[in-house]
């Protein structure tokens, strides 16, 4: 994947008791206790913005969002800089995303569950990954190969039609493995992001 910047999102199961603000102390604790290995900097609350990024865990190399930027709540891993080479970027992002989703599911105070088989990918790098047919074809091939291997099932990739937005695809796996199983397949919790 040529795009260094990317956003991979895992969607939340709808819940009658969903409370976004409950995430703020959790993310602060992630920083304080260095729950994940990345360099984390701060927590920002944008829950006042309708269909916004929600609550953001700001990091140096990547951010984590729990919001509804595309209209549905979910966890976004947003890679900003650095990271592995083009061939390993997507897998690295999936591993980091699944890891934090798993940690959030373990937070009993939240009571959240993620739909493990529904994701979206946005390439927030218009220079190296313009929203065109060529980028889509390359992305689709890479997504099908990686997700097919990790999920062990058929993968459907659908392009989101929005010309001015970064290239965005919806990804659906025909199986729904647990997050633990997915993480294990990806090699377990990741090391610190470079």
């Amino acid at each position: 994947m040529l795009s260094e910047r990317l956003q991979l999102k895992l969607y939340l199961e709808p819940s009658a008791h969903f409370e976004l603000e409950a995430l703020i102390p959790v993310f602060h604790r992630f920083i304080r206790d260095q729950v994940i290995k990345d360099l984390l900097i701060d927590v920002v609350d944008y829950s006042h913005v309708p269909a916004g990024p929600g609550v953001v865990l700001i990091g140096h190399a990547a951010d984590f969002y729990v919001g509804a930027l595309d209209g549905a709540y979910g966890l976004i891993y947003s890679r900003k800089r650095g990271g592995p080479g083009p061939d390993a970027r997507l897998e690295d992002a999936l591993r980091r995303l699944i890891n934090v989703a798993r940690l959030l599911e373990q937070e009993h105070g939240l009571g959240w569950r993620f739909k493990s088989n529904e994701l979206s990918l946005r390439l927030t790098d218009r220079l190296h990954a313009p929203n065109d047919d060529g980028t889509f074809a390359a992305t689709q091939a890479e997504v099908v190969a990686l997700f097919g291997r990790v999920y062990g099932s058929d993968i459907a990739v659908e392009r989101v039609p929005a010309a001015k937005e970064p290239l965005s695809v919806r990804i659906k796996a025909s199986s729904s493995p647990s997050l633990e199983a997915l993480l294990e397949k990806l090699g377990g919790p990741p090391e610190a992001a470079s």
Binding site: I31, R32, V44, H48, V49, G52, P53, L127
Partner: protein
């Protein structure tokens, strides 16, 4: 065809040559700094002049609620300014002259927020756009992409002419003398990079207003403020400006002083240039706290200042740009996309009537309205930015204005289109009513991202919005129209001085722990271009502020007389009454009973580390200090009452007395034999707190102590005018506040 691998290649030929060159130079400076070939202070000023700021935690330290942790940024010790780590995310301020945005520009800004920032665009209280959490090395490309859309970040910060602001209704307003936009536009680019604006000791802000009575231009708190005026001379209608200088908010707000009641339009540029030259020559350089133009005007007096400016004006070499724009004042006119029309009676979308009532206003042009988009805290997403750009293309033909109330204004909406326009906003999550009403709370970034923030102004604003939204429909119309503004510290970026209810972040030591508070500022006037400034009544624990707002609002509604404004109501019932409310809300439960009081809004970390040692001395001395500081606050309040009664001299004396009491309280910590004599207190305070720098603020240094020393040296002088007494009270408040901070540090609760 070669595929571009950099934005520089991709945008070649699309960026103004001079702007492209400036950005290339900045990129080179970044590389040189990385190699250690540019000194860090010089690099800091360089990036600031390009609008590239630091942000909270950029010193590489962050308090996690229990302890301070080091943030191990990968570039190690490399800095982008003094105590500013290279990799620490920063803020990019983007100058938007008079807030005007085209659809294409908003699309570009949205892309940048999406790719380099945290998916949020933020409108500031001076019509800029800010993006947060930007890495320094992304800024050259970001600037190139902006430049390709006709936006420069040059001089968005630093000791320069900042964004030129103007009334967002200019050109479509029924109360304006004439459209000020061609003047604001031409002046913004005339001053940008002008040799006479490159050597200031501090920033310089310019504002335009089309009329005097409305608040839109807020000219009263700008270094140079121009209000449109016309005058008939020899039977011919002439244009000019009521021209003010030396206004400013900041820690000690100064109202602008009238320079010329009718400055002819052809003299606007040369006089402003001459003002800049005098400011560059006479403005303070060493002491940033006294470096704004307001201090030059105050020191010289307006007559001498004016004499110097006119002398300078006479020396200026004529510049065709002074008047060339006057040949075509219609160059900035906007052409509406649709013909004017009337809104047909009928069934409108749900929520439309409420939105229309608060957010829509008729233009002076028949058949058209302005429509304001309510943006909570000035924030919106890239998707919402694109949606607004598309609405502009679809309905208005490109006209948008970022406003100082942190909203977006659309102009030239044909009235029949209003329901469809509203539906477009709703689809983007932007259909909220209440723009510029009580629920639409203005706030600076505060502790969210600002290095100087003391309390969470955005957290408070969010909470007030939430609580007031629930009841706003039931509120009396007079209450609905109140303005609330919050600042995270005394620097006034939230413009709390000109709100009906302003809040200014401070902290207090209570029950052995540090507690976030806000000073309640009452009596400010928003109308008349921010006609007068409020004063702080007292500090309220953050978590009690919503209760204070509710109580004050209820009382205003219950007791106001016919047509009485909130400002007049406060003046009638008196600050003593308001102070009673503050006193009632001052008490909070112990930490053990309710620890939430010891955290700020929206931030669960403990506001204090809460590990105060209770030594043998502390058990006695600390309460004595607190008693002394409380006495000084009481004295300050008395000073305000005296000022309200018209006793300027007594008010000034009382304000100075408050400073003396605060200094005495602190100094007795070091010298228990300290007496009551003012000379002795000042001398001992200087020895123990100033010379040792113990009193120094981490950011402001000895600024607040200087207020005290100056008040001592000039005691008896401030009371000769109401303005002088007002300023002394402001300075005394800051000194007492600094004494609180100093005491907290002494007690061990602050680093």
């Amino acid at each position: 065809m070669t595929v571009a691998t950099t934005w520089k290649q991709k945008l070649a030929g699309q960026v103004r040559e001079d702007w492209a060159r400036e950005i290339d130079i900045f990129e080179t400076q970044i590389e040189l700094r990385k190699k250690g070939k540019v000194e860090e202070k010089l690099f800091a000023e360089t990036r600031l002049r390009r609008g590239t700021y630091g942000q909270r935690y950029d010193n590489g330290q962050r308090h996690d609620g229990e302890k301070t942790q080091t943030l191990p940024y990968p570039s190690g010790e490399l800095t982008k300014g003094p105590v500013t780590m290279w990799d620490a995310p920063g803020m990019q301020r983007i100058k938007i002259p008079y807030g005007k945005l085209t659809a294409e520009q908003l699309d570009t800004l949205s892309e940048l927020a999406e790719e380099y920032s945290d998916q949020i665009l933020h409108i500031t209280t001076r019509q800029d756009i800010q993006l947060h959490f930007i890495h320094i090395e992304d800024t050259p490309d970001l600037m190139r992409r902006l430049a390709a859309a006709g936006i420069t970040t040059r001089e968005a910060c630093g000791n320069t002419v900042r964004n030129v602001t103007a009334c967002p209704y200019a050109g479509v307003c029924s109360t304006e003398s004439f459209d000020v936009i061609p003047y604001a536009d031409a002046l913004a680019f005339f001053l940008l990079g002008h040799p006479d604006t490159q050597d200031f000791g501090r920033k310089f802000k310019v504002a335009f207003s089309g009329c005097k009575d409305e608040p839109c231009g807020l000219t009263n708190f700008h270094d140079a403020g121009a209000i449109a005026r016309t005058r008939t001379v020899n039977g011919e209608l002439k244009r000019g400006f009521e021209y003010y200088v030396g206004g400013g908010l900041g820690a000690v707000p100064y109202p602008a002083t009238l320079f010329d009641e009718f400055l002819p339009e052809e003299e606007l540029f040369p006089i402003t240039q001459a003002v800049c030259r005098v400011f560059a020559r006479l403005g303070e350089r060493d002491n940033r706290a006294r470096a704004r133009l307001k201090f030059v005007v105050k020191k010289l007096g307006i007559e001498e200042f004016k004499r110097l400016v006119l002398e300078e004006r006479a020396k200026l070499r004529p510049d065709e740009r002074w008047t060339s724009f006057l040949k075509d004042l219609h160059v900035t006119d906007e052409k509406p996309l649709k013909a004017g029309s009337e809104l047909a009676p009928g069934t409108y979308p749900a929520g439309f009537d409420a939105w229309r009532k608060t957010n829509v206003h008729p233009q002076s042009q028949k058949g058209y309205s302005t429509a304001k988009v309510t943006l909570p805290l000035g924030d919106f997403t890239p998707g919402q930015g694109r949606a607004m750009a598309d609405l502009a293309r679809r309905f208005t033909g490109d006209s948008m204005r970022a406003t100082v109330e942190q909203n977006m204004l659309f102009r030239w909406v044909s009235n029949a289109d209003l329901p469809a326009f509203y539906q477009g906003l709703v689809a983007a999550g932007l259909g909220a009513a209440g723009a510029d009403h009580i629920t639409d709370v203005t706030s600076c970034p505060g502790t969210d991202t600002c290095k100087l923030g003391i309390s969470s102004s955005r957290g408070l604003a969010t909470e007030l919005h939430k609580q007031l939204s629930v009841i706003s429909d039931q509120l009396d119309p007079a209450a609905q129209e109140l303005h609330i503004k919050c600042s995270g510290c005394s620097n006034s970026c939230g413009q709390h001085h000109v709100a009906d209810m302003g809040f200014l972040g401070v902290s207090r030591n209570m029950n052995g722990r540090r507690v976030p508070h806000f000073q309640l500022v009452i009596g400010g006037q928003y109308k008349n271009n921010a006609g007068s400034y409020g004063l702080a009544i007292g500090a309220i624990p953050s978590k009690h502020v919503p209760k204070a707002v509710k109580t004050l609002t209820d009382r205003f509604v219950a007791e106001k007389q016919d047509g009485e404004s909130f400002q007049a109501f406060v003046a009638r019932i008196g600050k003593k009454e308001i102070r009673k409310l503050v006193d009632q809300l001052a008490v909070i439960p112990s930490y053990e009973q309710d620890p939430s009081y010891y955290s700020d809004w929206g931030d669960p970390r403990e506001y204090t580390i809460g590990d105060l040692g209770v030594g043998e001395c502390a058990g006695e001395v600390v309460p004595l200090v607190q008693v002394g500081l409380a006495d000084s606050e009481r004295e300050l309040f008395e000073a305000q009452l005296l000022l309200d009664e018209g006793s300027s001299d007594s008010a000034a004396a009382r304000a100075f007395s408050a400073m003396v009491l605060a200094a005495q309280a602190l100094t007795r910590e070091k010298n228990s034999f300290l007496g009551e004599g003012v000379d002795e207190i000042v001398s001992e305070f200087r020895t123990h707190y100033y010379d040792t720098k113990l009193f120094f603020d981490p950011f402001a240094g000895g600024k607040f102590a200087h207020y005290f020393f100056r008040a001592y040296e000039h005691r008896g002088e401030a009371g000769s005018s109401k303005e002088g007494a007002h300023q002394l009270i402001e300075e005394a408040q800051l000194f007492v506040e600094a004494a609180h901070q100093c005491y907290t540090r002494i007690a061990g609760a602050l680093p």
